[in-house]
């Protein structure tokens, strides 16, 4: 593939040009984060009774809700974004280098948001690290903690390694804010400018990520623990592949959305081209289609539900109060998929349309993940009342807050790190 050749001023524009819209976005994001902090403090001081959560069984509640749906969604986004980036690096798809950079920057933020939702959901958030201190290795969940935590650490290492070359160039060109010089110096420790031969650490890290991700995304853990008999029904079967497809869908859709916004804000039509965005769009659509198939299999077999569920849970959710929400979630995934595929088929492209359907797709998957979680906990097998749940204002504040926090992180990265990649071929970067 050819290496995109861009004028440097175009690529450094996000670092140098700051318009009113940027400050407005930062202001809105800060307000939303304050709302999230308010929600968290309220839950800390008054308990989870302020949320819509309750115990299933005699209390007729649902113990997991929007926070767990959001946790899955953000974790999926982190997995998908880093996987997309790794695919671009490993297969040296130079045209998609700028998308890979977005994925790298997005991944740690998404994992952090995911972690925050776990913290919000815990009855004792101050004890969150008990999962590390007392890690019971016989528990499949412990291995999820280890593997997801490991991927989070790898994502940060991967980010640092992959931005060092651009960072080095921009830092020495004096484009980056001088106030952060100690940070840049630390990030560039041991970097000598790169040499033009062989595959660099970035390639190998990307390859490791690609090998690691199917394991994290529900592959190895159910394979190893499945035969042990006692399980909680969520390890194995179709869950692993579905989570992987969902992750790739959310990751690529988010990268597509961010790329669209960047292109609009900084006229980066030559970086995020019609062709590349259209192709990434159809890639997203194909993944979304695969995800939907997985979801249908989960619903059909009832494996989306916890072990306490009525054997007829699939019929119950299709016929119950959640049915309209299910169809809404399906529509929110299917309609964008059709749009993105049609763009490729007809050779047309709309930036606004692509950004909007990517956003709708993201909401659709979030909705689906939450629906699957809640629906699977609503209908007990024993003679308890069916559970009831509708997210409270505090759970919404949490979700809006983490979304704003990730946006805020990206806005900060936009002004402090090489957000738009100035490099293309990894082969030039053996010591990065």
């Amino acid at each position: 593939m050819s290496t995109p050749s861009m004028p440097d001023d175009l690529l450094t524009e996000p670092l140098e040009e700051t318009g009113t819209a940027y400050y407005v976005l930062v202001g809105v994001a800060v307000l939303a984060v304050i709302g999230m902090v308010y929600s968290f403090v309220t839950m800390l001081t008054q308990g989870h009774a302020v949320t819509a959560l309750d115990n299933w069984g005699t209390s007729g509640g649902v113990p997991w809700g929007l926070d767990i749906g959001a946790f899955s969604w953000w974790a999926a986004m982190g997995v998908g974004a880093i996987a997309l980036s790794a695919i671009v690096r490993v297969f040296e798809m130079d045209d998609y280098e700028p998308y890979a950079r977005i994925g790298e920057l997005l991944t740690p933020l998404a994992f952090f948001a995911s972690f925050l939702h776990v913290v919000f959901d815990l009855g004792r958030p101050g004890r969150v690290f008990n999962t590390i201190i007392y890690l019971p290795l016989e528990s499949p969940i412990a291995w999820d903690v280890i593997l997801l935590g490991g991927l989070g650490i790898v994502s940060v290492a991967y980010l640092v390694v992959s931005i060092r070359r651009d960072l080095h160039d921009l830092y020495h060109d004096g484009v980056l804010p001088s106030a952060l010089s100690p940070v840049y110096e630390a990030l560039l420790t041991g970097y000598d400018g790169g040499s033009p031969s062989g595959r660099g650490r970035r390639w190998w890290l990307a390859a490791a990520v690609l090998v690691f991700i199917p394991v994290v995304a529900g592959g190895l853990v159910p394979f190893v623990w499945g035969p042990f008999g006692v399980n909680i029904n969520w390890f194995g079967a179709i869950q692993g592949p579905t989570f992987l497809a969902g992750s790739m869908t959310v990751g690529t859709a988010t990268v597509l959305l961010i790329a669209g916004v960047l292109r609009f804000a900084y006229d980066l039509d030559d970086v995020f081209t019609d062709r590349s965005m259209r192709t990434l769009g159809v890639f997203t659509g194909a993944l979304a289609f695969t995800y939907m198939l997985g979801v249908f299999y989960e619903i059909q077999t009832g494996t989306f539900a916890a072990d306490m569920a009525d054997p007829n849970v699939s019929t119950l959710v299709f016929g119950g109060s959640l049915a309209p929400l299910l169809w809404l979630a399906i529509a929110a995934v299917v309609v964008p998929t059709i749009y993105l595929v049609l763009q490729q088929a007809t050779g047309r492209f709309s930036l606004a349309g692509t950004v909007v359907v990517a956003a709708v797709l993201l909401v659709g998957v979030l909705h689906q993940e939450t629906w699957l979680t809640v629906g699977g906990l609503m209908y007990p097998d024993l003679m308890y009342p069916a559970g009831e749940y509708a997210p409270s204002i505090y759970e919404w504040l949490n979700l809006v807050g983490t979304t704003a926090l990730v946006a805020l992180g990206l806005l900060v990265f936009l002004k402090t790190l090489p957000f738009v990649s100035t490099t293309a071929t990894d082969t030039e970067d053996s010591t990065a």
Binding site: H48, D54, S59, G123, R124, Y134, P140, I141, D381, L382
Partner: protein
Amino acid sequence: MTQLGMVIDVERCYGCRACMEACKVENSTPRGAFWMHVFRYEEGEHPDTSQINMPRPCQHCSEPSCASACPTGARFKREDDGIVLTDYDRCIGCRYCEIGCPYGVNYAQFQDPEEAQYGHGAGGSAGDDMFGDDSAGSVSDELGEEDPGTGKPPWHDPIHDQEFEPRGTRMSGPQPEGVMGKCTFCVHRQDADDRDEQGTTACAQTCPVDAIKFGDLEDPDSEPRRHLREKNSTSTFKLLEDRGTEPNVIYVGNEPGEDARAIESAETFKDPEEAIEAEQNPPESRSTNVEVDQ
């Protein structure tokens, strides 16, 4: 090896729910939490219907899926006697045990345990503060306690403050806010110095028809095993055995059939907030004023 468990005779149980009440008093569980629950259900078609009552404590499984799900090991099976316990000092309140258990016996404490207790906020109107503070007319005064207002409300039984083996942490009674709790087979009794307390649970002791037999299921001479022998012509079952959890509560009687339907509606199980509201502002339909024609 000891495995404490229960044999519950569904044929004897007549649904008085004294076991539920005894459990609440013994363990001071808050509103909405029923460590012992009685399923009251109906089977058959009118007019040939029958009502059955089935008490449901924690099943203290030999392969507890709640413990498998716990990401911190806070939920664990005690090797000495097979009781499944929650380490209140380690639990993070993720509710994974509640998700992993198919029996619905787990309760997360979603608010301050005191605020969730019966009678909270009832003071004021009658001057009888249920929480034993120093105000005049408190329950402590009514009871003539010598040292009222020690900061421990009447529902708080100090016996639950003790630390239990094998970890030396709190595991019995009402759990703190944000932590999981469930039936402990009255672990404070099993670990009591008083031998009369050992081998008993509040629910079994209170049952007026002796439908709940508690003891070591591994011991052929234990009360539950003897009861099983006495009723060897009656069918027995365990709840949701197909889940592979190997429960240690054995029911004597017929297993609930496909058409078994709960008698209570969801409204029966009011959540704590609704219960508090109902207590403080009883609906007119609950009025006890009865006009009697002279």
